[in-house]
């Protein structure tokens, strides 16, 4: 921001994808203007299909041949659109470099990491191979990869997701580019790894002085990283401003809705603000303002012509009522209709409610097999090793943990309704170890699941009526009853009963998730297992599904086991929370207790890693960065499993460390009557959000 001169100027960029035989072309980007100054960070935020990634790729000329690009992209005054491939190749990687979303598919699987980074150096610099390799090792060191020499000889699949993204950043900064384009660089990563990678991006930016263009759907990431933000909707920038200004006083109703739709870690309760409808597909844009059909402030003139991006002091918005918004500064809930969530009717005292699910000491190991034909066991993976769960009627338990923490295994063990390898599972007072087949089959009706990916969890070859009827049929319900239930259920989740004969692909993501929920509710279960039910959905759609879940819980008295990596969602929805690390429950208790005064250092690091969708609060708080990746669960080491990454352990005096190294900590209550326990020998209390002194 020191130099006000524009480094990259995008003017009226348009991208069209040619239609196949006789079909109309679709416009993915429809007139985007952007300016990037030297050294600054520009955040581009938008939902799927908003054209944000296509914009980034168009800048580099990386779109496929079917894409028609018009407009202008100027780098230091040099026009890039229409430049021949050879010339563009010279700029790519040396002046503008790119970091992609999925680092596994973005590396060529058959070459070593070192070869791929060295190649990036050799393309643009006249150095010999050995020098390039040394440079590659330096780069890996810069992005914090331990033992760079060895890492150079690894293949991409041998790296963890976070390591791959670090290597990707190392490759991008290999030639000290002026601009780093990062397209959803942390979307596929866990939250603690996301925090590390964002930190690496900042380091890389600092070391090279590059400007950063960060494309993301995550308002929190944008708030944390960006200096300026451009909000995209339906192929256009609808609002752009400095980050503080944008979050504090949005002038476009879409931005306002987005901010209201995100659950936040530092506030709780109440319904979220859902933006009605779905983003329009690029092939079917409405006339006029593309947001008008979803906009509560839309007027007749919005439907006739598309407003231009206008404004002053660098705060521009494409809305005819932006001045009004700038003046009034309404809260999202003042503009958008917010549904009422009926209050829960259960006795508030936990002890008075009967338990629905109780899990204690649950263990599940998987054999590590080797050999092609006659496989033999060479070891064991402790996927789950000491999980405790306790859910009572009408309450929501949030199960939190990163990839590999054993969340899914825990779910499948519970859903399997069989005798666990070790420990005890009790569903509605019945021990699953003692169930015969018929009893287990009956008990299944009390326990249903909603999966993460609403497309994958619905059989694409079945009409949704049959999908919803499947659990009823499995429980041998009579046909007239099934026919009666289907329309009821569809109505319950806010879908039109007339659509029972349609196929899943005819519905949008949010609607499909509602179908999943309807299917799970068909047999009137008492406990609903929700496995990341909103993580595949766009923010504005996610809010509607979360509100639905809250309403159903209150109306039907359901208990939820809600699994999520997203702590903000858990915070928003759950009554109690259970935190897992490497197959073990490390902290559990009421949401207030765990989120406000976390005791386990892992929980503290997790909470600290979640970016807040609020730049002011984001700058004010202190961050604890968790080092490294979780160790492999194949080794079952004595002592505390978290100590290899634990800041508390690292700071301990040697004689105090012995306990962590030898005794595995058990869950201990924070206070005699408190619903809060942590498995740490040296629990520290940290108020959250921690503020900088």
């Amino acid at each position: 921001m020191t130099s006000p001169a524009a480094l990259l100027t995008v003017r009226d960029l348009r991208v069209e994808f040619a239609g196949a035989r006789g079909r109309a072309a679709t416009s993915a980007v429809r007139g985007v203007d952007l300016t990037v100054r030297r050294g600054e960070t520009l955040g581009i935020v938008g939902e799927s299909g908003s054209g944000k990634s296509v914009t980034a790729l168009a800048v580099l000329g990386l779109l496929p041949g079917t894409a028609g690009i018009s407009g202008s992209v100027e780098l230091d005054g040099r026009e890039l659109v229409g430049l021949p491939g050879r010339e563009l190749a010279r700029i790519r990687g040396s002046r503008i470099a790119m970091v992609f979303q999925d680092p596994l598919s973005a590396f060529t699987p058959v070459y070593r990491i070192g070869e791929q980074i060295t190649e990036a150096v050799l393309v643009h610099q006249k150095v010999d191979k050995a020098t390039a390799r040394r440079r590659a090792a330096e780069l890996l060191d810069l992005v914090g990869i331990p033992d760079p020499q060895r890492a150079l000889d690894s293949f991409p699949h041998e790296f963890s997701g976070g390591m791959r993204q670090r290597a990707m950043i190392a490759m991008a900064v290999a030639n000290e580019p002026d601009i780093l384009l990062a397209d959803e660089p942390t979307t596929a990563l866990d939250v603690t790894i996301q925090a590390q990678v964002l930190d690496v991006l900042r380091t890389a930016q600092r070391e090279t002085g590059a400007a950063l263009v960060l494309v993301s759907h995550d308002l929190g990431v944008i708030a944390q990283m960006a200096d300026r933000v451009a909000v995209m909707y339906a192929g256009r920038v609808v609002e752009t401003a400095g980050v503080d200004e944008l979050f504090a006083a949005p002038r476009h109703p879409y931005t306002l809705g987005l901010i209201g739709a995100v659950p936040r870690l530092d506030t709780r309760g109440g319904p979220l603000v859902p933006i009605p409808g779905n983003p329009p597909p690029p092939s079917k844009l409405p006339g006029g303002c593309p947001f008008a059909p979803r906009c509560p402030l839309a007027e007749d003139r919005c439907r006739t012509s598309e407003p231009e991006l206008l404004g002053e002091d660098g705060h521009l918005a494409a809305c005819v009522r932006s001045e009004e918004l700038a003046e009034r500064r309404p809260a999202p809930s003042e503009v958008y209709p917010v549904p009422e969530v009926p209050p829960s009717v259960l006795p508030p005292d936990r002890a008075d409610r009967e338990p629905v699910l109780r899990v204690s000491g649950l263990t599940r190991t998987f054999p590590v097999l080797k050999g092609a034909v006659f496989k033999r066991k060479v070891g064991e993976v402790y996927a789950v090793d000491g999980v405790e769960l306790d859910i009572r009627r009408g309450e929501t338990l949030g199960l939190v943990g990163e990839s590999g923490s054993g969340k899914s295994t825990t779910l499948f063990e519970v859903l399997g309704l069989a005798k666990p390898e070790a420990g005890r599972i009790e569903l509605l007072g019945q021990d699953t170890a003692g169930l015969d087949r018929a009893a287990a089959h009956r008990l299944r009706a009390q326990l249903q699941i909603v999966f993460q990916d609403p497309m994958a969890s619905l059989d694409p070859r079945m009409p949704i009526g049959d999908v919803i009827a499947e659990p009823l049929r499995a429980q041998a319900a009579p046909k007239p009853e099934i026919d009666l239930r289907i329309p009821q259920l569809l109505r319950l989740v806010g879908l039109d009963p007339a659509h029972a004969s349609r196929y899943p692909h005819e519905f949008s993501g949010g609607q499909r998730q509602r179908i999943s929920i309807a299917r799970a509710l068909a047999v009137e279960p008492q406990l609903l297992v929700l496995d990341e039910p909103v993580s595949a959905l766009d923010v504005s759609i996610q809010a509607g599904v979360l509100n639905l879940l809250q309403r159903l819980k209150a109306e039907l008295g359901l208990a939820y086991l809600f699994v999520s990596h997203d702590l903000s969602v858990i915070r928003h929805l759950a009554d109690r929370v259970s935190v897992m690390y490497l197959g073990r429950t490390v902290e559990q208790g009421s949401v207030e207790a765990v989120f406000n005064t976390p005791r386990h250092p892992y929980t503290q690091a997790l909470l600290s890693a979640v970016p807040l969708p609020d730049p002011v609060a984001e700058r004010a708080r202190e961050r604890v960065l968790l080092a490294g990746d979780p160790p492999s669960p194949t080794e079952r080491r004595a002592g505390c499993r978290f100590r290899s990454r634990c800041a508390v352990y690292a700071a301990l005096a040697p004689e105090l460390r012995t306990r962590c190294e030898q005794d595995s900590p058990v869950l201990l209550d924070a206070a005699p009557d408190a619903d809060h326990a942590a498995a740490c020998h040296y629990p520290t209390v940290q108020r959250y959000p921690a503020r900088r002194a």
């Binding site: 799927s48 496929p64 079917t66 979307t187 859903l415 499947e470 999520s564």
Partner: protein, 329 residues
């Protein structure tokens, strides 16, 4: 929802507009979609027309001439095509037209039956091996590998002396018995990945029984592959049939097939081309048409296939890749 200012609604029903939005698929049903794509592929249309015409020729054609395939015209030996003998005559005065059509009939029927049989076997074996896993899988796959060790040609040839008197139905069973293994392997690996899909897991957790899951979820979802494969299997079955018959190990007199006709005409080919090329040409034409249909079907049934799709594959990937669901594995 159009009024300015806040309005509070109690149900979400209004929020999520209730009509399906068809965000990423045409509103038409799947069948219509497939048909549309199929019609867009010119090859598939041409293939279908050719196959229909050949069937018409094989089953109606014989009634257009008074010569039957067993008839012998002593007055015309090795005569080129003429008004009396449309495809000419053979060395003994046989009518090549009647013979070729008779052979075509047999080859078509054999091809269809073999494809049907082998696809059913492949689907069941593959789905069971993949779904049940463990020892079921290991044994079935060992069996499949065992069957694959020998080219089917060798085994059928060895067995064929035993089948001298059993006719062509036994031959069909034999051909099918050695034609399902590769398909079964593919179905198996498809099943393994389908088994991990959430809708199958959901069905398992709902208490749906394994065989029902295979029939209701696994096989319908492998159906597009099976249909394509069955189509191509018709072609390969006809090729195997003709090859075996050519060497005298398949269809035997008094039956005729395209293979036996080609064998009879081989030596005469340079001098009396009509005795060879009509049968050979029809054979190639039929297999070609069937392959074209198979290829068109594959593109039409596979949602990620290239032809007939909106922009390019890469463009579609772009729109999809902007948000990958993240979370626990």
């Amino acid at each position: 929802m159009t009024g300015a200012g806040p309005t509070v609604t109690t149900a979400d029903a209004v929020i999520e507009n209730a009509t399906p939005t068809a965000a990423d698929a045409a509103p038409a049903g799947r069948g219509k979609l497939v048909l549309g794509r199929l019609l867009a592929a010119r090859g598939a249309v041409a293939g279908t027309v050719i196959v229909l015409l050949l069937f018409l020729l094989a089953f109606v054609g014989p009634y257009l001439t008074h010569w039957r395939y067993t008839d012998i015209d002593y007055a015309a030996l090795r005569q080129p095509p003429s008004a009396t003998h449309w495809f000419g005559t053979g060395g003994l005065g046989q009518d090549v037209y009647a013979q070729t059509l008779r052979g075509l009939q047999k080859s078509l029927i054999i091809g269809l039956l073999v494809a049907l049989l082998s696809t059913v076997v492949a689907g069941l074996v593959g789905a069971c091996a993949g779904y049940f896993g463990g020892w079921t899988d290991r044994l079935l796959i060992f069996f499949v590998d065992l069957m694959l060790v020998f080219p089917s040609f060798l085994v059928i040839t060895i067995i064929s002396p035993r089948l001298k008197n059993t006719g062509w139905i036994a031959f069909v069973v034999l051909l099918a018995a050695f034609n399902w293994m590769i398909t079964a392997r593919v179905v198996r690996s498809m099943t393994i990945s389908l088994k991990e899909r959430e809708f199958v897991r959901a069905a398992q957790f709902m208490g749906v029984r394994p065989l029902r899951i295979i029939l209701r979820h696994i096989l319908p979802n492998a159906a597009s592959y099976l249909i394509v494969d069955a189509t191509i299997a018709v072609g390969s079955a006809v090729m195997s049939e003709t090859a075996l018959s050519y060497f005298g190990f398949g269809v035997k007199a008094p039956d005729v097939s395209l293979g036996t006709l080609i064998a009879d005409g081989t030596d005469a080919a340079p001098t009396y081309p009509w005795m060879f090329y009509f049968a050979a040409g029809l054979l190639v034409l039929f297999v070609l048409a069937v392959n074209l249909i198979g290829d068109g079907l594959r593109d039409a049934l596979d949602p990620t296939a290239e032809s007939g799709r909106a922009p390019s594959r890469r463009a579609a990937r772009l729109s999809r890749s902007t948000r990958t669901p993240k979370g626990s594995r």
